[in-house]
């Protein structure tokens, strides 16, 4: 009896061993999480990360360009410093990791299925990411980036990355134009939360990237304003082309980084400079965007804070008539989204690129090309477009356009006029581009009239102004430190080293 039983047992055991060993061991794929995904599934997180990377770092860049300031006096960033921290290096994380290899995964899937529009979108996003990341960080890991099996990486200079943006953009344009049965609007719309599958708009966005790429080198002899205008004319053509990353705003994961739920903007208040620009201190008319973008104190007066000075009313009672409200528009951070305003709402879409910005780029290039008539049209278009974007009524908009604050004589239009209106139009939504502008113009007070630099600079700076964000601390300083030395990023004043794009 027991012999029979044991014989069955042993035979069973041997059979199991012999026949199904490999099958038994092939359980190393995670069945709760995939290792590849289709392009429509990969795109939405990339779009969210495009916004997150810029918004995250805009908290610090916003202090350099004086969009807002910290309520605490004397913080390092207010003094153009760069403490050893991951802060102000979210772009680094976003470029290499959050968007990073997902682009290649998307390209692989799209090309295998002949979804050329996805393949184009993937390249357009990477081109945009290289452009905005190098504008933030300068020298980056380029040639060796994402190389399998490599853990120590060399740095490459910015000019190579500027070339790469052009190469990728051109590839993207070609693919976005390429037709196939699988390359339809409906298929692209499945993952495209921004342009609902409209490849033509992605084409415009890609030209927008090229316009920035061509315009940022305005100090160089190779700068070609005609090329810039050509790109702009193929780029976003109205507010309906704006690249807006949507936010569901239900919880901290899908909310706008600037919204009250995320609680990222609670320590910032508007700068005196933006208040002065909008509240008829520096320009001869009160801007109708003022009550939409900013909030007055209880006494009805708009206040901002000066760089590095902190908010003198920070510890004042919430009922104090002069207390500065938060950017959300309320005195304390609202517990619900109601009462929050402008782009500081939980479900506000964040603009990666706007038609208004394109028009100001065109206006600047046109002045440089001595075509002031074109410049004036673009300048006026830019102001109008931004007013429409923020929700100013047509009547108020036209009233402001008619006022002395807006130049009407083409011959009188200056770079400063354009840059100041561009500065306003990018307030809160384009800190990165504004920082590029300010560095191109060396924080020039003749361009940014009424702009005052912080009185105290970080002791690391040696009296110089901030020019770049350091590579991410917990990526490069800790794990790739030897390579950093080759570009001088180990030096305390590395962040004041001028960018390649700003140099002649």
């Amino acid at each position: 009896m027991q012999h029979k039983f044991s014989r069955i047992f042993f035979i069973g055991l041997l059979a199991l061993l012999a026949s199904s060993c490999d099958e038994f061991l092939d359980v190393n794929t995670d069945i709760s999480k995939p290792q590849s995904a289709s392009a429509p599934v990969l795109l939405p997180p990339m779009l969210s990360d495009m916004a997150r990377g810029e918004q995250f770092d805009s908290r610090f860049v916003g202090q350099f360009v004086q969009y807002w300031h910290n309520v605490t006096a004397g913080t390092s960033y207010e003094a153009h410093g760069s403490p050893s921290s991951d802060a102000n290096a979210e772009k680094w994380r976003s470029h290499y990791y959050a968007i990073g290899l997902n682009v290649d995964l998307m390209i692989a899937d799209a090309e295998a299925k002949e979804q050329w529009n996805y393949a184009g979108v993937a390249r357009a996003i990477r081109a945009w990411s290289w452009q905005t990341s190098t504008d933030h960080h300068g020298d980056m890991i380029f040639k060796q980036a994402w190389e399998p099996g490599r853990f120590i990486f060399d740095f490459d200079s910015q000019d190579l990355i500027y070339e790469e943006v052009k190469r990728l953009s051109n590839e993207a344009l070609e693919l976005l134009n390429r037709q196939s049965e699988a390359s339809t609007t409906a298929i692209l719309a499945r993952g495209d939360l921004v342009y609902a599958g409209d490849a033509a708009k992605w084409t415009k966005f890609t030209y927008g990237v090229l316009a920035r790429n061509a315009n940022h080198i305005s100090n160089k002899s190779t700068y070609d304003p005609r090329k810039v205008i050509e790109y702009v004319d193929k780029a976003l053509a109205s507010n309906s082309d704006n690249f807006l990353v949507p936010h569901a705003g239900n919880n901290t994961d899908d909310s706008n980084f600037y919204g009250p739920l995320r609680n990222n903007m609670t320590v910032y208040r508007p700068s005196t400079y933006i208040v002065n620009l909008l509240d008829s201190v520096l320009l001869p008319a009160r801007d109708p965007r003022l009550p939409i973008m900013l909030t007055p104190s209880l006494d009805g007066k708009y206040r901002g804070i000066n760089p590095g000075a902190g908010d003198p009313t920070n510890s004042a009672a919430t009922t104090s008539p002069t207390k500065l409200p938060t950017l959300f528009g309320t005195v304390t951070r609202p517990t619900t989204d109601k009462g929050s305003k402008f782009i500081f709402r939980d479900n506000a879409a964040y603009p990666i690129m706007t038609y208004a910005e394109m028009q100001f780029i065109k206006a600047e290039a046109a002045i440089r090309a001595n075509d002031k008539a074109t410049a004036l049209t673009a300048y006026t278009n830019g102001i109008k477009a931004h007013m429409d974007f923020v929700g100013v009524s047509a009547a108020n908009r036209d009233k402001y356009i008619a006022s002395a604050a807006v130049v009407k004589d083409a011959s009188a239009l200056t770079i400063s006029d354009v840059m100041i209106q561009k500065y306003i139009a990018l307030w809160g939504i384009g800190s990165a581009e504004t920082w590029v502008d300010m560095r191109r113009y060396a924080y020039n007070k003749d361009i940014y009239k009424g702009f005052t630099l912080p009185t105290v600079l970080s002791s690391d700076n040696g009296g110089k102004l901030v020019q770049r964000a350091r590579p991410r601390f917990n990526s490069e300083y800790v794990w790739n430190a030897e390579s950093l030395k080759t570009i001088g990023a180990d030096q305390p004043d590395y962040h004041t080293k001028e960018m390649w794009f700003a140099l002649p």
Binding site: Q2, F151, N251, S475, V478
Partner: protein, 1025 residues
């Protein structure tokens, strides 16, 4: 001849023989002068049937009956010898007595002779080339620990045992001989009756909220095993165990043998234990200064840098008003019995335990049925089934936990008033985000786990021929652990989300099938045995979790009560399969020299197919030197041993490819997770060497066991952080070499041994050292991010340094080592974000001293846990200092000058400028934020801890025996953690800032936001029916 026969036959046979002898009157004699009646019991008061009794100098005798009773006619001056296998021989002089009750003492030597080394295999201890430690179930039960892991502390040389906190249901970890994996688990394998048991601690990474393992604790699941079911526990410390158990035993193994039913009359035993518990050593806080900053009252901050309280201010002892007296009751009931062919034991345990923190409790129920059936003379089966249910109500720990809530509460406010008249949270500040009132936190936040577990195994044992033994085992361990956490909408943690509820269900399955065959052969003086076997292991864990936010009604705790648009769910499934085949050959010459060689090949699912098969061998040599010297009373036993073992450890599951993580951002979708996979992973390799000896002196009154080991782990599989240029935050690689070495000694002395009084003392000594020979990717620093709990202190590994190093951001110093002072502020300057080695958690040595006294029916024992050296990060002190509650620097109104030199460019010159800038801390709160966190690493912490103290009394058989109902009875009182003498200024230097789920070298010695072990006294009764 008779004696030999009696002691070698099965118990029942012996009993029958005894009856036969009685019936035939073999023991009765014509020369009877008197009749002696009596009873033979074991040390627990249990009757021993089948004990042979012989009148010295004759061949006359008898055997005890089923109740341990005997009756024998003897000469008045007779001397009786009592013999029973496994017990020491007792010699009793009759001296005209007619009633003699005898207690047989277990012969530790005999019990020690065999060690369970694998899959139900017993190996003669003489043959082992490596050291093992065995702890009896009795000792574990007597320690009265709720988590039996904790009873092993200070009892095992080479082991460090740590309870992560003093909360009911907290996880506990055991580490044998240091850290062999940088990132993997370093916990030993737990085996019960040859079957693997899951000892994982729930990892919060599986939750929707993907929390770190520091704000909540989960029981390490081996704690589910009822201590009362443990017959004995053997600790196999080195990777030698892996030869049989496979890679999972690379960190050693704890092999548990459960109690089995005894042949004889059915028995029912009941025992209980009632414990009261008190919080012990809460960090002190100051009650001199009130809320404010810079010496100015500010009621909008909880920091107490304000002015001193006036004498009119009423102050509260909030600590006393927070903690309660803990109470635990445990009841065990066991039914057992057996005949020649069938035995069974059914053990039940129920516990209800309320911890010292309100809201913290643990309820356990365990039922285990163990049985065996002799199907035929050559076939036997053993089965083991257990059902376990556990409910653990917890409170949050760490940064947002009740302890730090409590410590940072101003003394002029009564924490008991945590509600407003309307029943909402009473706020101390107008700031909505203020830390919780601890009572509110414990009361309104909810945190519970429930576990339902089934363990079962079937063993089929065949002895087809005398020299061959075969054994097949099928075992399974399945449990469902589910839990809920609620962050109340008004609590600090739940404020931003307007209330959050998260629940999870973890379904865990660990199946294993083993088959072994062992052949023994003896030819002349050569003995040999060959073992072959195979093991198949299948492990799967499914965790699903869901989360909802935005409570409709703040006080209704269900996901139905949350905004549907906030609902999130997550699933995590891990699977791992393994097949191993192994062989072990042992040859001995005249039982004098033993040579054992093993080899094992594993095939694992977690490595790429081309690397998934790997082989590892081991060798052991044992030499019984004492057999070569004439028998003497000084050196009774001497064994020299040496061993060499290799073991390969596989990778964590699903790390070959890079995994996409679902994203919760708008529109959902997938993107790569933090971890980059590696299609070229190979196994980690561990090479271990051990030498040692075992000696017994003076008729075993003194025993000494010594071991020295050295272990190196190569090709560490870990995911270090790397440059993001890889496309990932962390990448799995094979890189890095670690070494551990140490000395272990255990010395047992029995200074007194008389008929009535025995005193024995046991010393367990451990010294461990470690070194990071090579860090992954040759990075200058590797750290375990889980350990980065507070401030800039973490467990950092630096090349060439110990694995237990504290890395911290220290002060900037000049070449002379003086602290640099900022000439503008007068405050010291910190070294940016650079972590340097500032301390080491590893103690110089650990020593356990266990004393037992038995006097007649009294037994008294106590265990000291002693440690010397080793640093501890007092994170609580750092937190309290920076928030104004520290008792340090209470003379803060006095000017203070930091010792150091100005950083004025002359700091490295011959004449640096000494700092003379005086600061009055009271008026400059920034003063309290200027210290390096390294200042709160307390150096060379020693302790003497009274771990256990136990007194028990067994009612003599005479008293108990008069009752037919109760057959044995004893009472006991046990104290746990009654006191600690230490130079540590914080609460408990042994706690752990993380749960046992934390990988690598763990976070023992990081004291932050964690409750100290409470002290408790347990009273109970044991009855045998």
């Amino acid at each position: 001849m008779l004696k030999y026969y009696l002691t070698s036959t099965p118990v029942l046979l012996r009993k029958m023989l005894g009856v036969f002898l009685l019936i035939t009157g073999f023991g009765a004699t014509a020369f009877a002068q008197q009749r002696v009646n009596g009873k033979v019991l074991d040390a627990d008061g249990t009757a021993l049937p089948g004990v042979s009794i012989l009148i010295q100098g004759t061949e006359k005798g008898t055997v005890t009956g089923i109740e341990g009773e005997f009756s024998l006619d003897v000469p008045a001056d007779a001397v009786l010898e009592f013999n029973f296998l496994g017990y020491l021989k007792q010699i009793v002089v009759v001296k005209n007595r007619t009633s003699i009750n005898v207690t047989m003492e277990a012969d530790s030597k005999v019990l020690d002779e065999f060690v369970v080394t694998g899959m139900g295999l017993k190996t003669k201890k003489d043959a082992l080339g490596y050291s093992t430690t065995t702890v009896s179930g009795k000792e574990i039960v007597e320690s009265q620990r709720d988590n039996w892991f904790n009873s092993l502390a200070a009892r095992i040389p080479g082991a460090s045992v740590g309870n992560t906190s003093g909360m009911a249901g907290s996880s506990s970890l055991i580490n044998l001989r240091g850290t062999s994996s940088l990132f993997g688990s370093n916990q030993p394998l737990i085996v019960v009756d040859g079957v693997l048991v899951d000892n994982s601690t729930f990892n919060q990474g599986a939750l929707v909220s993907d929390r770190p393992n520091r704000d909540n604790d989960y029981t390490n699941r081996a704690a589910d095993i009822n201590a009362n079911d443990i017959e004995s526990l053997t600790v196999l410390k080195g990777p030698e165990a892996a030869a049989i158990y496979g890679a999972n035993a690379g960190n050693g193994a704890i092999v548990i043998t459960t109690k089995k039913g005894q042949i004889g009359r059915g028995k029912v035993s009941y025992d209980n234990a009632f414990r009261v518990e008190q919080v012990y050593r809460i960090p002190e806080t100051q009650s001199v200064f009130g809320q404010g900053n810079n010496g100015i009252t500010d009621l909008n901050t909880r920091r107490t840098f304000g002015p001193a309280y006036g004498s009119e201010v009423q102050l509260y002892n909030n600590s006393d008003n927070f903690f309660r007296q803990g109470f635990s009751q445990r009841h065990n009931m066991v039914f057992e019995g057996g005949s020649k062919d069938v035995t069974y034991r059914w053990s039940n345990s129920f516990q209800d335990y309320k911890g010292v923190i309100p809201g913290n409790s643990l309820q356990n129920f365990s039922s285990r049925l163990v049985g065996s059936v002799q199907l035929s003379p050559k076939v036997r089966t053993e089965t083991n089934f257990a059902y376990i249910n556990s409910v653990n109500d917890k409170v949050f720990r760490g940064a947002n936990g009740v302890l730090l809530n409590l410590l940072s509460w101003p003394a002029n406010d009564d924490i008991r008033q945590y509600e407003t008249a309307a029943g909402t949270r009473r706020r101390l500040l107008s700031s909505a985000t203020e830390l919780d009132n601890p009572l509110f936190n414990a009361d309104r936040n909810f945190n519970q786990d429930q576990t339902n577990r089934f363990q079962g195994s079937i063993n089929l044992i065949l002895d087809p021929v005398k020299w061959l033994n075969m054994r097949a085992t099928l075992g399974t361990d399945r449990y469902t652990q589910s839990g809920v956490t609620v962050e109340h909408p008004e609590s600090n943690a739940g404020l931003a989300s307007n209330g959050q509820i998260e629940s999870y269900i973890a379904i865990n399955r660990l199946d294993n099938a083993n088959f072994t065959a062992r052949a023994n052969k003896k030819v002349g003086k050569l003995g040999a045995s060959l073992l072959i076997g195979t093991q198949i292991v299948s492990n799967r864990n499914d965790v699903t979790s869901q989360r909802g936010q935005k409570f409709f009604d703040p006080d209704f705790y269900n996901i139905n009560n949350t905004d549907p648009t906030t609902h999130r769910a997550k699933s995590q499934i891990t699977r791992k399969h393994l097949i191993g085949v192994f062989a072990q050959a042992e040859i001995n010459y005249d039982e004098l020299v033993y040579l054992t060689a093993t080899g094992r090949n594993d095939w694992t699912s977690t490595l790429p197919p081309e690397n998934r098969s790997y082989f590892f061998p081991s060798m052991g040599l044992s030499f019984l030197a004492s057999k070569l010297i004439p028998e003497n009373n000084v050196l009774t036993y001497l064994k020299l041993r040496a061993s060499y073992a290799e073991v390969a450890k596989d990778a964590p599951p699903h790390r070959i490819g890079s995994i996409l993580e679902p994203r919760l951002t708008t529109g959902g979708g997938y993107s790569y997770g933090f971890f980059g996979g590696n299609p070229n992973l190979r196994p980690e390799y561990v090479v271990a060497r051990e030498v040692g000896f075992e000696a017994r002196f003076f008729k075993d009154r003194v025993t000494l066991d010594f071991a020295h080991f050295f272990r190196t782990s190569y090709n560490q599989i870990s995911p270090p952080r790397t440059s993001y240029g890889t496309g990932f935050v962390l990448s799995y690689i094979n890189s890095g070499t670690l070494s551990n070495w140490g000395y272990e000694a255990s010395l047992g002395i029995t200074p007194v041994k008389t008929e009535n009084l025995t005193w024995s003392v046991n010393f367990n000594f451990t010294r461990l050292d470690s070194r990071a020979d090579r860090l992954p990717l040759d990075l200058p620093e590797y750290y375990v991010s889980d350990s980065w709990l507070f401030g800039n202190v973490r467990n950092s590994l630096f090349k060439g340094g110990p694995l237990t190093t504290f890395g911290a951001v220290d002060y900037l110093r000049n070449n002379n080592g003086d602290i640099l002072i900022n000439p503008g502020t007068g405050l010291p300057e910190l070294n940016g974000a650079n972590f340097t080695a500032v301390g080491d958690r590893n103690p110089d040595f650990a020593l356990g001293i266990y004393n037992t006294f038995t006097y007649k029916d009294f037994s008294f024992s106590f265990l000291f846990d002693i440690r010397r050296g080793g640093d501890v990060f007092n994170g609580n002190a750092a937190f309290l200092y920076s928030s104004g509650y520290s008792t340090r620097l209470l003379d803060r109104t006095q000017p203070y000058v930091f010792k150091g030199v100005m950083r004025d460019g002359r700091e490295n010159s011959d004449n640096p400028t000494p700092n003379t800038l005086a600061i009055v801390p009271q008026y400059q709160t920034g003063f309290f934020g200027a210290l390096s966190d390294a200042d709160f690493i307390e150096k060379d912490i020693n302790w003497v801890r009274m771990r256990e103290l136990s007194l028990s009394y067994r009612f003599p058989a005479g008293i108990v025996g008069s009752s037919k109902f109760v057959r044995s009875a004893s009472v006991f009182v046990t104290g746990n953690d009654l006191f600690i003498i230490t130079n540590y200024t914080g609460a408990d230097p042994a706690v752990n800032g993380n749960s046992a789920a934390s990988p690598g070298a763990g976070s023992v010695g990081f004291d932050y936001g964690t409750l100290a072990n409470p002290r408790g006294v347990t009273l109970g009764v044991r009855l045998g029916l």
